[in-house]
Amino acid sequence: MSTSKPNMTFSRRDFMRTSSLAGGGILIGFNLFTACKPEASPPVDLASLNYNDFNAFIKIADNGAVTIFSPNPEIGQGVKTSMPMLIAEELDVAWDKVLVEQGVLDTKNYTRQVAGGSQSIRFGWDPLRQTGATARQMLINAAASRWGVEPSECTTSEGVIKNASGETLTYGDVVKDAAGMEIPEKVKLKKRSEYKIIGKDTWNVDLDKIVTGQPLFGLDYKKEGMVIASVMRPPAFGQKLDSYDDAGAKEIPGVIDVIRFGDKIAVLAKDTWTAMKGKKALKASWKDDGTLESTSDHDRILTGLLDGKDFQTLRADGDIKKAFASADKVLERTYESPFLPHNCLEPMNFYADVTSDKIHLVGPIQTPERTAQEIAEKLDRSPEEIHLEMTRMGGGFGRRLYGDFAMEAAEISSKAGKPVKVVFSREDDMAAGIYRPAIKYRIKAAVKNGEVTGYHLKEAAVNSNMYGLIPNFFPAGAIENYQVDVAKHDSNITTGAWRAPYTNFLAFAEQSFFDELAEMMEVDKVQLRLDLLQKVKGTTDERIQYSPERMEEVIKTAVEKSGWGKQPDGVYQGFVNYYCHNSHVAEVANVEIEDGMPVVKKIICVVDCGIVVNPLGALNQIEGGVIDGVGHAMYGDFAFENGVPQSGNFDAYRLIRINEAPEVEVHLMENDHSPTGLGEPTLPPAGGAVANALKAATGKRLYKQPFTKYPELLIVPEKEIIG
C-alpha cells in the first residue's frame, strides 16, 4: 500500500538473466520489484538463482511462440492482461500470438508480488517495458551477428527481424543464439507514437475460460486425495472454545475426521456438502472474558475519542487554534461509517498439502509472499520448502491480503496428514471477516474575510488509523492552518484494508463538508475547490503528491462533460474531486426523482491516471469502482451484538444489484504521464457525489452511511416532485 514514489534507478545486471531451455527456446528472467524497491536492497546473488524462481519472465520457443508470465495476483483488476501487454509491446510481438500464464510465488528473492494499493501497473511500468526491450535487443543482436551486419541496421515487427537488404529472420530462428548473447547495458524504449499494444483495447486473457466455465478459481482446484474442511470458529469475537462434542458429526456418512486446532474445529469430508453438514452437527460451547463488543459500544467509544484529547497528530501546518480564535465563521460536522465485510463472491478457500519434505499451497491470495512466510513460521518450517501457486481470484477488495484461511488449511493438513482444502460457507465468510473498521470523522473549518483559514480533520477509528500520505491529500497544502489528528479504539474484532482503505469513507466526509462550507461561504461549490487548488501550485512540500494542475483539469473536464449547473429541471447534481492511489478523479452524480423517491441515474467520472495501458480494461475498472462506491454508500451496513455479527448472508446484507446500478459515463484525460492505478481511485468519490446530489434533490444533508438506513433523509419535498 506504499504510496511512495518508485525509485527507478537500478542496475540492469542485478535484475536480468537469460538461459537456454532444455526443450529449445530462451527464458528471460527478471527480478521485477527488487529492482525498483523504494529502499536500497541487498544485491541479488545471481549464482543462486534458479529460473523457475523468477516471478516473471518471457519464454520464446524455437517456433517463435511467446509465453509471458504475469507476476502479480489477479483479483479482477486486470493485471494478468495489462502487465504482459507492457512486455509484449517492447518485445515487439503480435499480442494475439502471446500466451499469458500466471507466475508462481518466489519467496526468496522478490518483493511486491502483491495485489494491493492499485500499484501493480505504476511499479511495473518501467521494469516490464525494459524487460521486453532487452529481450528484443538480444534477438536483434543474434540476427545481426548471423548476417554480419550492425544491429542498428535491423528493425523488428511482430516477431520478425529485418535487415537493410530486406532479409528476415523470426525470433524463433535466432532464439538459441540470443540465449548466449551478452545482456545489453542500455536499450531504447519505444516512443508512444510507436505503440501497437499499449493504449489499444485488449480483451481479458482469461475471457474464453470464464464464459465457458473452465476451472480457474481456488474453489475449482482439485488434487488427488484432497479432502474438504469445513471449519467451526467462535461465533463471537472475544470468545474461545470451551468444549465440544463431535459424535453427531462423525456419524454422518462421508465425514472422515474431526480435528481441533486452537479455538477452531475442522470437519473433514470427501466432498463440500458433507463437510458443511458435518459442521452443522457439531456441538460446541464457548467462553468469553467479558470483552464482547457491540455496535452501540463503538458508537459511544468513537464519539468519546473525537470529544477527547488523546490524539496523534499526523500533519500540522500553521496554528489552527489561532485560526479558529480569529475566524468570522466556523463550520464543524461529524461523519459516521459502519464496519463493512468484503463479500468477495468467491468465499475464502485454500488448498494445503503439508508433508515432511514440502508444503504445497494453492489458492486465491493477494499477498502470497507474506502468507507463505507466516505459514512457514507457524509450522516451524523453512520458507524454501513452500511452493505457492496463485489461482485467479473471485474478488479481493482487500480481504485476501490476509492469509488466515491459508493458515487454517496448512494447520489442518499438518494435523490430518492429508491434502486439505478449507472452504468457507458464505456465513463463515461474513462472520470470520477482516472488516473495514467503523470510523468517525469530525471536520472543522475556519473562514475569515471570505477565505478558508483553518482546517482540522479528526479521525476516530476501530483498531487502526489512516496511514501513509493520506493526511497530505487535498486540501493539505491549500489551507495555511491545517491539522490532521487521529485516535483509535483497540478491539478484538478483526479489521483490515477494504478497497481504498480510509479514503473509501474519508472522501465522502471531506467532499460533503466542502459542499456545506461553500453553502456557508455563499460561493460556488466547484469554484471553492478550484480556489483552494490555486494555493497548492508551486508547493515545495514533497509530502504533497497530488498535482493541483492535473486536479484542476479533471475538475474543469467534469464541469464541461456533466453540464454542471446547466442540467434541466428534475436533474439534481453532486460534485466531487478526489486524489488517491496516485490518480486524480472528479465525479458528478445525477439524481432524478422517480415515484417520489430520489434515484441515482448516472455518474459522470473523469479520471487522470496518466497513460492508459488498456482502455477496455480501464473502463471496466472505473465503472466497477463507481458502482461499488455507490452501492456501499447507499446500502452497506454491518453491526455487532455482543461480538456476534448481525448479518450472515446476502438476505441480511444488501449489495447493489443490476436494477440499482447507475449508468457510468467515463472520460479519460489524455497526457504523457506514467500510468497510475485504477483498481481503487474511482470508488472513494462516488459516495460523496451521491450525497451531494441527494442534498440538492431533498434539501437534506447526509452525515452517516449507509444512506438507506435513514429513509427520513431521503424524502423529497412536495414541490420538488415533478409529474
Partner: protein, 153 residues
Amino acid sequence: MANYTLNINGKSREVDVDPSTPMLWVLRDHVKLVGTKYGCGIAQCGACTVHLDDTAVRSCQIPVSAVGDKKITTIEGLSENGDHPVQQAWLEIDVPQCGYCQAGQIMSASALLKRNPSPTDSEIDTAMDGNICRCGTYTRIKKAIKTAAGNLS
C-alpha cells in the same frame, strides 16, 4: 446414500450421493463440472444458476432427489464450442472483471432471451436482479444482453 441417473448437458450421469445434496454440489464435487459457482447457498446471489429444462434455477436450492428426468444444462453445456449468442456477446463486450459470477449471469441471461428475445431495460433488470456481481459489471452485463438480443433477432 442413493443412486441417481441425471441428464446433464445431454449426457447421462450416475451419482451415488446423499439425497439432500444440492445439485450445485453434485455438479461441482461429483460430476466435476465446476463452472457452476457457489456464492451464498440460499438463492440470493445467482452464482449457481443452471437451466432445468429451459428455466433458470438456483442449483443450490434443488436437492438431487428432486431433479428426476429433467434436463440439466450448465455453463459447460450451454453451447458446443462456447459460441452461444450470449457467450459471444460476453466476449465482444469484455464483461468480466474477476469473472466468478459470470457463469451464473450468462445462464440467467440466456434463459431470459429464450423466453423473451428482445427484453426491455426493465425486463432485463427483473430477470437479472437475482444475480450479484460484486465487481459491479452491471452496465456491461446489460449491454451484452442487448447485443445478444440484437444478434438473436
